[in-house]
């Protein structure tokens, strides 16, 4: 086990920031921490990094208790902060060399790593430019790169895509996947559902300091037993066909509105092979299928949509 957090409680004066939080990260997996602002994501990862002492419970990293003083643990973690923590008045190379130096990289090894990280993050052409001439996306990539020079076994990313364009976001998400493919464990926090869905092999959903659910995406969806919605547009609709569709045991409901059938089935069940023969004679114009997603999971578990809670 790379990280093990057990029943951690953290208070800031009267406010309970983490309430009996437990989570685990296994080797080589990408764990997504999902929740609105103030859910406790950053507090959780600051406790894992060793920047925050917990009031109760234990945090273990690489099998050792995390007290923030163990340099061996620190050497094996790469921490990507939510805010940009780079020196904008300096060049990217100077930044990378400085942060590499903090992890005892020196000489040729440091230079090699700087070039390698810059190449992976697409910054190699502008390594010697001052960071304040970079775009927001490039700064974000450099912010990530500064945490990777020492080839950490565990990378912790706190909302690494805040405030950047979709292209840079895609780049970063792809990069996180590549990291995991290379065997690096990743903790990825975000309040963007689609990001967590895209990168995480296991997801923890947090709200108001509580861990309200965890599991793989299919597990979480199965847990809420959400419905799938199939919308079928036909040229000429028929009430008889609606009745026949309603008669299929796996279908929960069928609504006919003008020339569109709105078919509701329990999540995870496919009925296409049964409905297509019935609808084909009506000339199918369009089919849309919406499976329950993480947004539905969040909505079911917290009673609010994530984008409203942010």
């Amino acid at each position: 086990m790379i990280v093990e957090v057990e029943e951690v409680i953290k208070r800031f004066k009267d406010r309970l920031a983490l309430d009996c939080l437990s989570l685990a990260v296994e080797s080589g997996e990408v764990v997504g921490l999902l929740g609105p602002n103030g859910a406790g994501k950053t507090t959780s990862i600051r406790a894992i990094v060793g920047l925050l002492a917990v009031d109760e419970g234990t945090v273990s990293v690489f099998g050792k208790r995390q007290d923030g003083r163990n340099k061996e643990i620190k050497r094996r973690i790469g921490y990507v902060t939510q805010e940009l923590t780079i020196y904008e008045e300096m060049s990217a190379r100077a930044n990378l060399e400085f942060f590499g130096g903090l992890y005892d990289l020196t000489g040729d090894r440091l230079r090699e790593r700087v070039e390698a990280v810059a190449a992976v993050l697409g910054l190699d052409g502008r390594l010697d430019d001052r960071v304040n001439t970079y775009s927001g996306g490039m700064k974000r990539r450099l912010n990530i790169g500064c945490s990777l020079l020492h080839e950490p076994e565990l990378v912790i990313m706190d909302e690494p895509t805040v405030g950047i364009d979709p292209q840079s976001r895609s780049f970063i998400l792809e990069f996180v996947k590549q990291l995991a493919e290379g065997g690096t464990s990743v903790i990825y926090t975000s309040h963007y559902i689609e990001e967590v869905e895209a990168v995480a092999s296991r997801i923890y959903i947090m709200d108001q300091g509580h861990m309200i659910a965890s599991g793989t995406l299919p597990e979480l969806i199965a847990r809420i037993q959400g419905d799938s919605h199939i919308l079928v547009d036909v040229r000429i609709a028929s009430e008889d066909v609606r009745q026949q569709l309603r008669g299929i045991p796996d279908i929960t409901d069928v609504v006919l509105e003008e020339n569109q059938y709105h078919i509701v089935v329990p999540g995870g069940i496919s009925v296409f092979d049964q409905i297509i023969p019935l609808l084909a004679p009506l000339t199918i114009v369009n089919i849309n299928s919406k499976q329950p997603d993480l947004e539905d999971v969040f909505l079911t578990l917290t009673g609010k949509q994530l984008r409203d809670a942010v």
């Binding site: 920047l51 939510q82 008045e89 300096m90 992890y103």
Partner: protein
Amino acid sequence: MLKFYFTRSMREIVGHLILIGIPVVIIAFFNFVFRDIFQPPGQLLPIPYLTVITVGFALTFQIYGASLSFEVLGADFFSSMRDRLMASPAEPRGLVVAIIGSGCLISFLQTLAVLLFSSIVLEADLGSLHLTIPIFMISVIVNQLLGTAILLLSRSTKVANSVITIYGSIVPMTVGLYFPLPDGAFVRVLSRYLSPMALANTAILGAMEGNLSVALSTTAVLAVIGIALFVVMRPLVRRLAS
């Protein structure tokens, strides 16, 4: 690390212009306006007026130069950058020492620039530089440590800036830099010994006059203040890391 912090601080062009440009202008202005009042033509003083104000303003702007260290420390340890630095295995003590070291180096270079201007452009007689330069250096270290201690105690760059600004405005007056002080035993002690700037000023002028016992004794006291500040810094740096 020292190289990185040195390069970073050197990029603060506006700060350097202020810390070199203002004393240079003030020295030139004071020399032009007041020299004939404080040193009537034909009268020989133990130390020429231009030399006195050059030393005085160089030391005054060393006080403001304390911001070289605490601004960088504030930006690194009282912002989100702290998390990245503290997440690394680097010792915070080492980072603080590197920051103060680069601050000292740059402040010393600024002092040299002021002295060089006065010497070359205004033709000030700066006397035995081999004796005075080490005193300027000790004074730089004391000022950088003092500014850093104020920051670490207040944990606010804004507060540290205000305290240093007030301190840097008042202390030169007590040394008699801006206007002559009334005569009296207390005023004499105040102007010569009761602040790090007064001690440095007394030591440097003593060295220039050839009064080595005064120069050495006041330099020793200044050095003790520096050591005391260094000792005070240890728990403050430990608190910074916790």
